[in-house]
C-alpha cells in the first residue's frame, strides 16, 4: 500500500483526492478531446434554416440545429453491431434476409402430452403446476422478442450472421440515434435493443467429438490441413454413395433374391457400385448418416496415424466367421444391435471406399430392408459393416495389399465382430462377415453364400412379420436352416475370440451335432482352417472320417442333408 502511494507521488501524478486538497477533476471531456482525430466527418450538412446562425470569429464556424424527438413513431430502432475485424462492408450487400432464430423454442416447449383421450391424465396440468410450485421451479418462458437474429446476406452463398441481444443497454442510460432530416433538423430516436452480430462459419468445422479426438493427437499430427481434407473426402464419398443408393433402391425391390446370388458370384466392382448404392438408404437423414459416418471416418483416420488398437494379430484367429448366414441368428437379441452399430461406428472403417465398394455384396441389398427396420441411424454403419464383413475372401488379398489398410483392417475386424454378432441378432441376416485378412476360405464360398442368401430371404420374411421377430425367428430357424450357431449363440459369438483353438476332434463334432442338426458345410465352418491349423483338404478328410465314425442320423431339412445326434 505504502509503496504504491509513493510511486504515484514520485510520478508526480495527482491522486484523486487522496493526496492534495483541491484536485482538478480529470474529466472525461478533456481526455476525450485529445483522442478525437482532427476534423471528423460528422456527416452533418449545414443547411439554411431560420434557426441556424453562423457566429463566431474568423476561425470558427458555428452552426446550430434543432433537435426533435418525434413521438409515436411506428418504427422501433435497434442497433446492429459488427466487429470491425469481420470486415463487413455494407456496400457489398445486394440483398439481405433476417429472421428470428427460433431454435430454442423446443427447449422451452414443455413435454407434450395429449390433452384428452388416449395418453392423457386427469388434471395432469394442475398436478404439474402444483408440483412446480412446491419445489419452487420457475419456468422461463420463451419470448420471441429476446431470441437472436439470423441474418443472411446475398442469398444462400453469401455470408451468415447471428445477432445476439446485448443486455443491460437501457438500464442506466439511453441511446439515441440522431439522424439529420432534409430540413436540417436532427431527429433523435431511442434505441430499443442492441444486437451484436457475429459471422457464422461457412467452412467445415469439426464436431465436438471429432475435435476431442484431434486434440488427443495434437502432438502427433503435423499436417493439420489433412485433417479437414480427409473429412471432406469422406463426406464426398458418402454423398456419392447416398446418391447412388437412392437411385437404385427403388429399382431392385422385387428382384432382390436373384440379384443377391448373382452379385455374390460375380463379385465385380461395377456391380458393387450399384449394390452399394442400393445398400445405403437414400432416405436416411443426412445428419444421422453424417454423424455415424464421421465417427467411422475419424476412427479410420486414427488407425492410419497411429496404432490405436491393442489387439494383436492373433486375436482374431479364433473368431467364428459365420459367413454362411444361417438363420440361426434367431438366438441373438436385438437389444445389442443398437449398441453395436454405435460401437462399430467408433471403430475405424479403415478400409477405404474403393475396397469396400468392391466388396459390395448382396448383403447390402439384403440388409437394406433389415436396416430400414432397425432404424435410420444405424443403417450406414451397418451397411458399411456388412460390406466389409461380406468382404469376400477373394478380396482379402487385395486389402492386405493396401498398406495403409492393414492396421485399420485389424481394427475394423475387431470392431466388426460385435456388430456382426449383433446383426445376427437382428434376425434377418445371420450372415457373419469374414474378417478382412482372413485367409480365403474360398472352398465353401459359392455355396455358402447362396445358402446365406436363401436364409436371408427367410429371415427377412420373418422380420416383417412384426410383433414377434425374435421368438418366431428362433422357432423358424432352429429346426430350419442349420446355422453354425446354436442357441448359445451369444456364447459362441463371444467365445470365439477367446477360444483360439478349436480342435477338430470327435468330441467337438459330437457336441455340435447333438445340439442341433447341421450340414457338412456348417461343420466345416466350425472348424476353420485358421483355427485348427489344418489345410482345408485335411479338414475335409478329417471331418469325413469323424462323421463316418459317429454315424449321425440324417434328416432332410430345407432340401439339405443335416446330421444330428440323438442323446
Amino acid at each position: 500500500m505504502v509503496t504504491h502511494r509513493q510511486t504515484w507521488r514520485s510520478r508526480g501524478v495527482a491522486c484523486r483526492g487522496a493526496v492534495s486538497g483541491h484536485v482538478p477533476l480529470i474529466s472525461g471531456g478533456s481526455r476525450g478531446r485529445r483522442r478525437i482525430p482532427p476534423e471528423p466527418d460528422l456527416g452533418v450538412r449545414p443547411t439554411l434554416t431560420p434557426v441556424m446562425a453562423a457566429l463566431g470569429s474568423s476561425s470558427q464556424v458555428v452552426t446550430e440545429y434543432v433537435v426533435r424527438v418525434p413521438k409515436n413513431t411506428p418504427k422501433r430502432y435497434n442497433i446492429m453491431a459488427f466487429n470491425s475485424a469481420d470486415r463487413v462492408t455494407l456496400s457489398t450487400w445486394a440483398q439481405a434476409r433476417m429472421e428470428r432464430d427460433m431454435s430454442n423454442k423446443r427447449i422451452y416447449a414443455e413435454e407434450e402430452l395429449p390433452e384428452s383421450g388416449a395418453g392423457s391424465e386427469f388434471h395432469r396440468k394442475l398436478r404439474e403446476e402444483a408440483r412446480r410450485k412446491k419445489y419452487g421451479i420457475v419456468l422461463k418462458e420463451f419470448r420471441a422478442e429476446d431470441q437472436p437474429w439470423l441474418l443472411r446476406v446475398n442469398g444462400k452463398t453469401g455470408r451468415k450472421f447471428r445477432g445476439v441481444k446485448k443486455g443491460g443497454v437501457t438500464e442506466n442510460a439511453s441511446y439515441y440515434v440522431f439522424t439529420q432530416c432534409p430540413d436540417g433538423a436532427f431527429e433523435a430516436f431511442p434505441v430499443r435493443n442492441w444486437y451484436n452480430f457475429t459471422p457464422l462459419a461457412r467452412h467445415r468445422t469439426l464436431t465436438a467429438e471429432e475435435a476431442e479426438e484431434e486434440w488427443e493427437r495434437r502432438n502427433k499430427v503435423l499436417n493439420h490441413f489433412s485433417i479437414m481434407q480427409q473429412r471432406r473426402l469422406r463426406d464426398q464419398d458418402e454423398e456419392e454413395e447416398d446418391k447412388d443408393k437412392g437411385r437404385k433402391a427403388p429399382g431392385k425391390g422385387g428382384g432382390l433374391r436373384i440379384h443377391d446370388l448373382e452379385e455374390d458370384l460375380e463379385l465385380s466392382s461395377e456391380e458393387s457400385e450399384g449394390s452399394e448404392a442400393e445398400g445405403e438408404k437414400a432416405a436416411r437423414p443426412k445428419a444421422a448418416g453424417g454423424r455415424p459416418r464421421k465417427k467411422k471416418r475419424k476412427g479410420r483416420k486414427g488407425s492410419e496415424d497411429e496404432a490405436l488398437e491393442d489387439s494383436d494379430d492373433g486375436d482374431f484367429e479364433g473368431q467364428e466367421v459365420d459367413y454362411m448366414s444361417d438363420g440361426s441368428s434367431s438366438g441373438e437379441e436385438e437389444t445389442g444391435k443398437a449398441k453395436a452399430p454405435k460401437e462399430e461406428e467408433e471403430g475405424p472403417k479403415g478400409i477405404d471406399e474403393a475396397s469396400e465398394s468392391s466388396e459390395e455384396s448382396e448383403e447390402e441389398k439384403a440388409e437394406e430392408k433389415e436396416e430400414e427396420e432397425e432404424g435410420k441411424a444405424t443403417p450406414t454403419p451397418q451397411e458399411k459393416k456388412k460390406k466389409r464383413e461380406s468382404s469376400d475372401e477373394s478380396q482379402t488379398s487385395e486389402e492386405s495389399d493396401i498398406d495403409s489398410e492393414t492396421s485399420s483392417a485389424l481394427f475394423m475386424a475387431k470392431k466388426k465382430t460385435p456388430p456382426k454378432r449383433e446383426r445376427r441378432a437382428s434376425g434377418s441376416s445371420s450372415r457373419g462377415g469374414s474378417r478382412p485378412g482372413t485367409p480365403t476360405d474360398s472352398g465353401g464360398t459359392g455355396g455358402t453364400l447362396r445358402a446365406a442368401a436363401a436364409r436371408l430371404e427367410q429371415g427377412r420374411r420373418a422380420a416383417p412379420g412384426g410383433s414377434e421377430p425374435p421368438p418366431q425367428k428362433r422357432l423358424k430357424t432352429e429346426p430350419g436352416p442349420p446355422s453354425g450357431k446354436s442357441t448359445p449363440q451369444p456364447h459362441s459369438g463371444k467365445s470365439t475370440p477367446s477360444s483360439g483353438e478349436v480342435q477338430l476332434t470327435e468330441e467337438a463334432v459330437r457336441r455340435y451335432l447333438s445340439r442341433k442338426p447341421m450340414t457338412t458345410k456348417d461343420l466345416l465352418k466350425k472348424f476353420q482352417t485358421k483355427r485348427t491349423g489344418l489345410s482345408s483338404d485335411a479338414t475335409v478328410n478329417a471331418l469325413a472320417q469323424l462323421l463316418k465314425r459317429l454315424d449321425p442320423e440324417r434328416k432332410l431339412i430345407a432340401d439339405k442333408m443335416h446330421f444330428f445326434l440323438k442323446e
Binding site: 472525461g28 471531456g29 476525450g32 483522442r35 478525437i36 476534423e39 471528423p40 466527418d41 460528422l42 456527416g43 463566431g56 476561425s59 470558427q60 464556424v61 458555428v62 452552426t63 446550430e64 440545429y65 434543432v66 433537435v67 426533435r68 424527438v69 418525434p70 413521438k71 418504427k75 422501433r76 430502432y77 435497434n78 442497433i79 446492429m80 453491431a81 459488427f82 470491425s84 469481420d86 463487413v88 455494407l90 456496400s91 450487400w93 440483398q95 439481405a96 434476409r97 433476417m98 384428452s116 383421450g117 388416449a118 395418453g119 392423457s120 391424465e121 386427469f122 388434471h123 441474418l151 442506466n172 442510460a173 439511453s174 441511446y175 439515441y176 440515434v177 440522431f178 439522424t179 433523435a188
Partner: protein, 249 residues
Amino acid sequence: MSDKGELDLTGAKQNTGMWLVKVPKYLSQQWSKASGRGEVGKLRIVKNQGRTEVSFTLNEELASINDIGGKPASVSAPREHPFLLQSVGGQTLTVFTETSVDKLALEGIVVQRAECRPAASENYMKLKRLQIEESSKPVRLSQQLDKAVTTNYKPVANHQYNIEYEKKKKEDGKRARADKQQVLDMLFSAFEKHQYYNIKDLVDITKQPVIYLKEILREIGIYNVKGTHKNTWELKPEYRHYQGEEKSD
C-alpha cells in the same frame, strides 16, 4: 410489400450517416415530455481550428424537472450539455428498424458516437443528490408500531372454514354405493375423456366409497405402478378404444 424477413437495404445504399448518442436518464425522461412536434432543444456545432465541439442546449420549458408526484420543479435540469465525441473504430454499427408488422429495414450506418454530458453546474449537483437520495432509500422499510396487532390469530372455538366443511359433510352424507352398472357407466364416460386417473379423482367423480370403487376398477382396469403415469388407473386394453389404438372393445 416486402417479404417477411427481408431486410430493406435502402438506408445502407444511400450511406446514410447517423450519430449514436448516449443520453443520461433524466434527459431522456425530459425528452419524453416534449410537446408539439417534439422539439427538445438545439444542437450547436462549432468547428474551431481543427477541433469540433458539439453541445446540446435543452429547451427552457423542458428544463424543469417534476418529481414523481407531479409537484412543481424542485430542481431544474442543467441546460447545457456538451457532447463527448468518440470514435466508432472497433465496431461497425448500423441501425435497423423494425416496424410492428415485422418489416425490417436498415436505416443507416453510425458514423459518430457521442456521449451527452451535462455541464457541471450547481443545478446538476443538486439534481444528482436528489437522485442518489431516492435510490438509496430501501425498498422495504421496517416500521415500529405503537400497539401490538391483535386482529389476527384470535383463538376461536371452531374456525369458520371448519364449520362449513362439517356442515357440508353432514349434508352430503356418506357416499352410498350406487348401482354397479351406473358406476361402470360413469367410469367409462370418464375414461373416454382421459386415459389415466388417480384414485382420488375417480372417487370425486363417481362419489363412491373407495373400497367399492376399487373393486370395480380391478375388474375393468389396471393400476400403473411405474412409468410416467404413476399410481394411476386406466382401463384394460380390451375395454379401450382410443383413436390410434388398434385394440378395441
